[in-house]
C-alpha cells in the first residue's frame, strides 16, 4: 500500500514543471556563432574595453587553446562544440538609462514575471539587485543609496571603466586565468557580471543580489563576479538564476572571485535554478562554474551557501583559501538531482594560515535517474598549526534508479590539525514514514516534512527571503514526492 503511494508520489515528482521556462522576445544584439581570436577582440571592442583587458583576454584565449576538458568528474557530458555557441548576446541598448521607465518594457516584464524587483520604490525588502540578462548587466538598483556609504555595486563593465585600479588589482588574484579549462574560457570571453567593493569598516546595510537570466538561444553565458570586502567590513550576497526551456544544452561557465581582507566577513548564497532539461533529460543548462574565495587577512570569514536544484549538469566547487591566520571558511550545500540531472559538486578548503577553521555540510538528494556526487578536498599545509575541519556529507536516495556518491579527499600535512569527515547514504526510513502516517500525516506530507528537516541545516544559513524561496524550490523540484 505504502509502496504504491510512494510510487505515485515519485511519478508526480517527475512531472514537476519548470515554471521559469518562458522566453521573452527582446531585441538582441548578437555576434555570430563560434570562437576565435577575432571573436575575443570583437567582444572587447563591443564593450569598449581598455588595452590591458584585451591583453588579458587574448592571453587567456591562447592558453585555453592548449588545454583539454578534464574527464575526471563522475559525470556524463556530451561533447561541447565551441564553434556552435554564440559568445555574446545583449539586449539592444537604449541610450541613457536614467530611470526604470527607460528599460525595455519586455525586459521589465521578464523580471516582473521572475519576481525580481527592478523598481526600487515598489520594493520593500531592501535588496539591491544587479540584473544580468544573457551577456550584459541591464540594471543595478539602489546604486546611489549604497554609494553614500562608499559601497561600489555595479556591473563589471562599469567597474572596468570607473575603477580600473581595483579591477586590475583583484581580477584573477583568486582564480588565475590558467586555473582550469572553463575558468580560462571565461577569462577569454567573459561578457559582464557584477562588481562589488565594500570599503573599510562598512557593514553593508542590505543584501546585495545578482540575478542571472539566459534568454537567447544558442548562447553561452560567461559572467564574472568580483567581490572585495575590505578590512572590518561585512556583506551578504545573493545570486539567483533561471533560463528558458530549450531542447539544446546551453553552457554557463562563470567565475566568482571573493577577497576578504582582515576581519572582513562575506556570506555568499546561491539559489541555482537553471533549466534542468525535460523528463527525458533533453536540453538543460551545463553549469560549470569556478567559485573561489580568499580569506586574505586575519580573522576573515567566507561562507558559501548553495541550493542547487536546476541545471542538467552541475559541476562546481565553491572553495576557500584560508590564508589569513584565524580565518574561517564555510560551505553549506543542498543539491537536488531529479530526472536525468547530474551533479558533481562540493568544495575545497585549503588551510594555509594558523588556527584556520572550516566547516562543510553537504546534503545531496537524488531522485528519478539523477546522479549526485559530492567531491571535496580538505588540504592542510605544513604551517597551518591547529587547523580544524569538520565535514559532513549526507545523501538521500529517493528511487532505485538514482545514485549518490561521495568522493572526499583529505590531505593533512600538519600534526596539530584535526580533520574529520563523515558521510552517510540512505533512503527515507519506512519507520519514519509510518510514524508520520499513524499520526495522520499523509505519505506525501511526511516525505516533504522529512526532506525539509533533512535540508534545514543548510536552508537556515540562507538570508530570510532566500530561505523561503529555497524551500519552495525544493518542493517544486521534488514536489509531493520526496521533498
Amino acid at each position: 500500500m505504502m509502496e504504491k503511494d510512494n510510487d505515485k508520489i515519485l511519478s508526480e515528482v517527475t512531472t514537476g514543471e519548470y515554471k521559469y521556462g518562458f522566453y521573452s522576445n527582446i531585441e538582441m544584439d548578437r555576434i555570430p556563432k563560434g570562437l576565435s581570436e577575432e571573436v575575443v577582440r570583437l567582444i572587447s571592442f563591443k564593450k569598449n574595453e581598455p588595452e590591458w583587458l584585451l591583453d588579458f583576454r587574448l592571453k587567456s584565449y591562447r592558453h585555453w587553446l592548449t588545454m583539454k576538458m578534464p574527464t575526471w568528474p563522475n559525470l556524463r557530458i556530451p561533447p561541447i562544440n565551441y564553434q556552435d555557441i554564440i559568445f555574446y548576446a545583449a539586449p539592444k541598448e537604449r541610450k541613457n538609462l536614467k530611470s526604470v521607465d527607460d528599460i525595455d518594457p519586455e525586459l521589465r516584464k521578464t523580471f516582473d514575471k521572475l519576481g525580481i524587483p527592478l523598481e526600487e520604490q515598489k520594493h520593500l525588502a531592501g535588496v539591491a539587485v544587479d540584473a544580468v540578462i544573457d551577456s550584459v548587466s541591464i540594471k543595478t538598483t539602489f546604486k546611489e543609496t549604497l554609494a553614500e556609504m562608499g559601497i561600489i555595486f555595479c556591473s563589471f563593465s562599469d567597474a572596468v571603466k570607473e575603477y580600473p585600479d581595483l579591477v586590475k588589482r583583484y581580477m584573477g588574484s583568486v582564480v588565475p586565468y590558467t586555473d582550469n579549462f572553463f575558468a580560462t574560457l571565461n577569462s577569454a570571453v567573459f561578457s559582464d557580471g557584477s562588481f562589488c567593493y565594500i570599503p573599510k569598516g562598512v557593514r553593508c546595510p542590505m543584501e546585495l543580489s545578482t540575478y542571472f537570466r539566459i534568454n537567447s538561444a544558442n548562447t553561452g553565458q560567461f559572467e564574472r563576479t568580483l567581490l572585495i570586502a575590505d578590512e572590518e567590513s561585512y556583506v551578504s550576497y545573493l545570486e539567483g538564476c533561471t533560463a528558458p526551456s530549450r531542447d539544446e544544452n546551453q553552457l554557463h561557465a562563470a567565475i566568482v572571485e571573493i577577497v576578504a581582507e582582515k576581519n572582513a566577513e562575506v556570506k555568499y548564497s546561491t539559489v541555482q535554478n537553471w533549466y534542468p532539461g525535460d523528463k527525458e533529460g533533453k536540453g538543460g543548462v551545463f553549469n560549470f562554474v569556478t567559485k573561489r574565495g580568499m580569506c586574505k587577512g586575519e580573522n576573515s570569514k567566507i561562507s558559501w551557501t548553495q541550493i542547487e536544484t536546476g541545471s542538467a549538469i552541475t559541476w562546481k566547487y565553491p572553495s576557500c583559501i584560508l590564508r589569513g591566520d584565524n580565518s574561517t571558511g564555510e560551505f553549506y550545500s543542498v543539491a537536488v538531482t531529479n530526472n536525468h540531472q547530474q551533479a558533481d559538486t562540493g568544495t575545497k578548503m585549503t588551510h594555509i594560515g594558523k588556527n584556520t577553521k572550516s566547516t562543510v555540510v553537504s546534503k545531496g538528494i537524488s531522485a528519478g535517474y539523477g546522479q549526485n556526487s559530492y567531491r571535496g578536498l580538505v588540504k592542510v599545509l605544513k604551517n597551518a598549526t591547529n587547523a580544524r575541519n569538520y565535514s559532513q556529507c549526507d545523501s538521500l536516495l529517493l528511487g532505485d534508479k538514482c545514485g549518490a556518491h561521495t568522493f572526499p579527499y583529505l590531505e593533512v600535512d600538519n600534526s596539530t590539525s584535526i580533520v574529520e569527515h563523515e558521510a552517510t547514504t540512505s533512503k527515507i526510513g519506512e519507520d519514519q514514514i509510518f510514524y508520520c502516517n499513524q499520526r495522520g500525516i499523509s505519505t506525501e506530507d511526511a516525505i516533504g516534512l522529512i526532506v525539509n528537516g533533512y535540508a534545514r541545516e543548510v536552508i537556515n544559513k540562507l538570508p530570510m527571503e532566500f530561505a523561503v524561496e529555497a524551500q519552495k524550490l525544493l518542493q517544486i523540484s521534488l514536489e509531493g514526492s520526496v521533498g
Partner: protein, 452 residues
C-alpha cells in the same frame, strides 16, 4: 595514458627478453594469459601519480631502478630456505615458505593435509589439478586501471596454491612465509591462488619478510575464491626493511552467504601498497576488511580497498588505522560500490590516523558510490593527534607522559588487532605493535618469524 613512459618500456623489454625462459617452466594454461595481459599492461603502464588510484603514491623510486630479475630459482636458494624455521609460541600452523616468489622444494611440491586439503606450489598445481586450476585461475584478478596486476599475470610463474574441498574445516591455519633474500637488488613477482569450496572453513596467515638488506621490489597477486557458506580469514603481516617495496593485490571473490575477513598489519616496510578487492558475488555475503600500519622514517604505506556490492543483502565493514611518525607518509583509499540491484546493502567504512610529527603526512580518500536506494552506507575519516584530555587523565593518575602516550597509541592500534580470531597470533601482534611503538622493532629483527 598517452604515450608510454620510459619505465613502462623497461618492463616491456624485460618481458621480451625473458618470456621464453618464463614460459618454459609454466603450464600452457598459465602461459595463455601472458600475451593478453602484457597488451593490457602496455596500455595502462606502471601507475603514476596521474592515476587516480595511485594519486598519493609515487612508485618511481622503486620501479625506476635496475634490478636483477629473478625468474628462475637457484638450487642453493632452496637449501637456504630449508634452513628457515618459524616459531610463534602456541601457534601451530601448516607452513609454506616462498623464497623470492618461488616454492623452494624440489621433491614435495604439493602436500596433502588431512581431509583432502592440498597446499603447495602454484606451478605444480596447474599441472596436477588441471580442472580445478583452470576453473579459477585468472578469473578474479581483473583490473581496468591497475597495470601492475597485468604485469604480474604476464610474468609471474609460481606462488602458493591452497585447495580446501567442500565441507572441510581446517583447524590449524595455513601460514605462508614470503621471504626475499638475494645478493643483488632483485625484482620478483609471485602469484597465489586460494580456493575454499562450499561450506569450508579455514584461515591463512601470510608473512612478508626480507632477509638481506638489498633493494627489493615485489609485486604479488593473490586470487581467492570463497564458495557458498564458506568462512575464510586472511591475515597479512608485513615486516620488511626500509629499502624494500612490496605491492600486494588481493582479489577476494565471495559466493552466497560466505563470510571473509582480511587483515593487513604493516609493521615495517619501505614502500608498501596493499590493494584489496572484495567482490560480494552472492546474496547474504559478508566481508570485513581491516588494516593497521605503523610508519616512521621515510616509509610510505598505502592501503587501497575496493568493496563491490554486486548482489542484494550483503554486508561489508572496513576499518583502517595508521600511526605516522618522523617523515613518513601514508595513504588510504577506500571505495564502496553498491550496484543498482544490490538492495538491502549495509556498508561501513572508517579510517583513523594519528600524525605524530609535522613532517608526517596523511592523505585519505574514502569513497561511496551508490546506485541502489535501499541501502545504509556510511563512512568516516579522521586525521588528528592523541586526545589531550585522555593524555591528561592518565597523567593525573600518575602515569608518565611517555607511558601514557604509548598506552593510548596501543589502544588505538588494538582496535584493529582485536579482530584477529587466532588467539596466539593476536597476542603476538599486540606484543609486536607494543615493541614497534616503543621503537624496539626498528628492523625486522624480531617478528613472528625468528629469522636466522
Amino acid at each position: 595514458m598517452n604515450g608510454k613512459s620510459e619505465i613502462t618500456e623497461k618492463y616491456l623489454d624485460l618481458y621480451k627478453d625473458n618470456i621464453t625462459k618464463i614460459s618454459g617452466v609454466s603450464s600452457p594454461f598459465i602461459n595463455s594469459f601472458r600475451a593478453p595481459a602484457l597488451k593490457k599492461f602496455s596500455e595502462l603502464g606502471i601507475p603514476s601519480k596521474k592515476d587516480e588510484a595511485y594519486k598519493y603514491t609515487n612508485l618511481n623510486v622503486f620501479f625506476d631502478h635496475d634490478y636483477e630479475s629473478y625468474f628462475m630459482p637457484l638450487p642453493s636458494d632452496f637449501a637456504e630456505a630449508e634452513k628457515f624455521r618459524c616459531e610463534v609460541t602456541n601457534l601451530d600452523t601448516h607452513g609454506i615458505v616462498l623464497l623470492n616468489g618461488f616454492y623452494p622444494t624440489v621433491n614435495e611440491k604439493l602436500r596433502q593435509l588431512p581431509s583432502g586439503v592440498w597446499i603447495g606450489s602454484l606451478s605444480e598445481a596447474a599441472v596436477r589439478f588441471k580442472d580445478i586450476f583452470e576453473k579459477h585461475f585468472g578469473k578474479y584478478a581483473r583490473s581496468e586501471t591497475d597495470g601492475l596486476v597485468h604485469l604480474n599475470t604476464a610474468m609471474a610463474s609460481d606462488g602458493v596454491f591452497v585447495y580446501i574441498p567442500e565441507g572441510v574445516t581446517l583447524n590449524k591455519p595455513v601460514q605462508v612465509v614470503n621471504l626475499v633474500q638475494a645478493g643483488n637488488d632483485i625484482f620478483n613477482q609471485h602469484r597465489n591462488l586460494i580456493i575454499a569450496e562450499k561450506n569450508s572453513n579455514f584461515s591463512i596467515i601470510i608473512c612478508d619478510h626480507t632477509l638481506s638488506p638489498q633493494k627489493f621490489l615485489t609485486n604479488s597477486v593473490t586470487e581467492i575464491f570463497v564458495g557458498e557458506n564458506a568462512h575464510f580469514d586472511i591475515i597479512r603481516v608485513q615486516n620488511e626493511h626500509n629499502n624494500a617495496c612490496k605491492i600486494t593485490n588481493t582479489f577476494i571473490h565471495q559466493e552466497k552467504n560466505s563470510v571473509t575477513s582480511s587483515n593487513n598489519i604493516t609493521l615495517h616496510g619501505g614502500l608498501i601498497r596493499n590493494s584489496t578487492y572484495h567482490y560480494l558475488g552472492g546474496e547474504g555475503a559478508e566481508s570485513y576488511s581491516y588494516g593497521l600500519f605503523l610508519a616512521d622514517k621515510w616509509q610510505h604505506i598505502d592501503n587501497f580497498v575496493n568493496v563491490d556490492h554486486a548482489f542484494p543483502h550483503c554486508t561489508s565493514n572496513q576499518l583502517f588505522k595508521g600511526v605516522l611518525d618522523d617523515m613518513s607518509t601514508g595513504a588510504f583509499n577506500g571505495r564502496i560500490l553498491v550496484r543498482q540491484d544490490a538492495q538491502g546493502t549495509l556498508a561501513y567504512q572508517r579510517n583513523n590516523n594519528i600524525l605524530l610529527t609535522d613532517d608526517a603526512k596523511m592523505d585519505s580518500k574514502p569513497q561511496l558510490e551508490i546506485y541502489a536506494d535501499d541501502v545504509k552506507c556510511s563512512h568516516g575519516a579522521t586525521v588528528g593527534q592523541l586526545n589531550d584530555d585522555a593524555l591528561f587523565y592518565l597523567q593525573s593518575r600518575g602515569i608518565n607522559k611517555r607511558e601514557a602516550k604509548l598506552m593510548l597509541m596501543f589502544g588505538f592500534a588494538h582496535e584493529v588487532i582485536q579482530n584477529i580470531k587466532i588467539e596466539p597470533l593476536r597476542e603476538r601482534m599486540d606484543n609486536l605493535v607494543m615493541q614497534r611503538l616503543k621503537g624496539e622493532l626498528s628492523r625486522c629483527a624480531s617478528c613472528m618469524v625468528k629469522c636466522g
